[in-house]
Amino acid sequence: MDKIYPGMADAISDIEDGMTVMIGGFGGSGAPIELIHALVDRYKTTGTPGGLTVVNNNAGNGGIGIAAMINAGMVAKMICSFPRSSDPRAFTDRYLAGEIGLELVPQGTLAERIRAGGAGIPAFYTPATFGTQLAEGKPVAEFDGKSYVQERWLKADVALIKAELADRKGNLTYRKAARNFSPLMAAAAKVTIVQARQVVATGGIDPEHIITPGIFVNRVVEVTDPQQEEALLRAEAS
C-alpha cells in the first residue's frame, strides 16, 4: 500500500465531466491551490473535466483557486454557504447571468451533511432553517416539542484536500484552522486526493495526533511549499 503519487497531473487525471468535487478550505485557509490549479490546467488543455459541481464553503475569491475554476468555465454549480468574498466577481458575474447554479446551504448544515455522507447517515434533522425560505420543500418533524428540518447526506466523487503531514498509508494532519471541512470531505468522497506539505515515514505521525486516518484517503502528492490563497490575493492586490 503506497498512496503517494509522484505527480500532481497523475493524481487528478481521472476526474471526469459532471463529477461532484468537494474542495477543502474556508476562504484561503486550507484551500488546496496546487491541486485546483492542476485541474484548471488540465481543463484548459483538454476540455475536461467540465460541468463540475463544486462543494466548498465559499465560491472563490479574485482569480485564484475556485475562482480560477469558475473563470475557466468548468463549474456548472456551486454548493456553498457563503458565495461572497472580498472579490467575488468570478462567481457573481456568472450567477447573475444565469450561467452557474447555486445551492445555498447554511454552514453548519453543510458541514453536517458532508459528515453524514462520510458516516453513512442518509438523513438527519437540524433546527437550522426551520421557518425560513431555505427549508422550503424539505420534510419537517417535531421532536420533544421543537420543530426540525430534515437534511440529506452530501457525498462526492472526488475530494481535493490540503494537509500538513501525510504518510504512505494516507494518514493526515492539518495546519491550524486550515483543518475546517477537510476531514469531513475526505470521508465523504469516493476518491480523496491530498496535497501534503510533507510526506513523513509511516509511523511518523503519532497515532494520537492523526486527524484523518488513511482509510479515508486514496492519493497523496507532496507539495513542499504550498501557495496560500489569501497571501496570493494580497500579493496580487498590492
Binding site: F26, A177, R179, L184
Partner: protein, 223 residues
C-alpha cells in the same frame, strides 16, 4: 450624550453583559467589535465557526498567518488553551447548545424573536454562512443593531418582512437607543437613552414596547 449610540458604544454596552467564564460567538462584522470592550477581569472564550476555540486579538499587520483566521476571514491569534477542530465538531458546539451567547447583526427583529439578517430579497447573490445555525445554537442570542435603518425605518417590528434567518430565536436586542429583552414574544424595555422619552422611542419602533417598571438609563462612555 449624543442622540444615539455609535456602533462602538452599542458593542460596549453588549460587552458589559458578557458573563465571566462564558463561551461566546461574535458574528462577522459589527458584533466582532464587542471583544474589544470586554470588561477587565472577566474571562470569555471566543468560538469561531471555522474551527477555533479561545482565540485572541488580531496579530500586528504583516505578522498574519492566513491559515489562522476567524469566520470573517480575518487573521487571529491564539490564547493559551486554544483548540482546533473540524467544521462538524465546530457546529456541534453551536447546534448542541454549548455556547452561552451568540451575537449577530440584524436587518429586522420581530417581537416574536424572529430574526432577518441574511437576505435583502431577490436580485443579489444570497449568502447565509453560519447565521442560521448560530440562531439555534446558543443559550442566549443577542442582536446588536442601529435602532432604525439608514432610511429611518423601524427595525424592531411586529413581524419581519425580509426573509427570516430564524424563528423565535432572539433573546436580547442592543440598539443605538435602547436595550430590550424579548420575553413572551414582546420587546420588554430594559434600558433607554436618558435623553429620550418613551414616546420618542416608541415612535421609531413599530412593535409595541412593553415597560415593566421604570427602565434604567442606557449609559455608555464616550469611545
Amino acid at each position: 450624550m449624543a442622540s444615539k449610540l455609535t456602533n462602538a458604544q452599542i458593542a460596549w454596552r453588549a460587552a458589559q453583559d458578557l458573563p465571566d467564564g462564558s463561551y461566546v460567538n461574535l458574528g462577522i462584522g459589527f458584533p466582532e467589535m464587542i471583544a474589544k470592550f470586554k470588561p477587565e477581569g472577566r474571562e470569555v472564550i471566543y468560538h469561531t465557526e471555522n474551527g477555533v476555540l479561545d482565540f485572541g486579538e488580531a496579530p500586528p499587520v504583516g505578522e498574519e498567518d492566513w491559515d489562522l483566521i476567524n469566520a470573517g476571514k480575518k487573521a487571529i491569534t491564539l490564547n493559551a488553551g486554544a483548540a482546533f477542530f473540524h467544521h462538524a465538531d465546530s457546529f456541534a458546539m453551536v447546534r448542541g447548545g454549548h455556547l452561552d451567547v451568540a451575537v449577530l447583526g440584524a436587518y429586522q427583529i420581530a417581537e416574536t424573536g424572529d430574526l432577518a439578517n441574511w437576505s435583502t430579497g431577490p436580485g443579489s447573490v444570497p449568502a447565509v454562512g453560519g447565521a442560521m445555525d448560530l440562531v439555534h445554537g446558543a443559550k442566549q442570542i443577542w442582536v446588536v443593531t442601529d435602532h432604525v435603518t439608514k432610511k429611518g425605518q423601524p427595525k424592531l417590528l411586529k413581524s419581519c418582512t425580509l426573509p427570516l434567518t430564524g424563528v423565535g430565536c432572539v433573546t436580547t436586542v442592543y440598539t443605538s437607543l435602547a436595550v430590550f429583552d424579548i420575553l413572551d414574544k414582546r420587546f420588554v424595555l430594559r434600558e433607554k437613552l436618558p435623553s429620550m422619552s418613551l414616546d420618542e422611542l416608541q415612535a421609531v419602533t413599530e412593535a409595541e414596547i412593553v415597560v415593566n417598571g421604570k427602565p434604567r438609563d442606557l449609559n455608555v462612555p464616550e469611545l
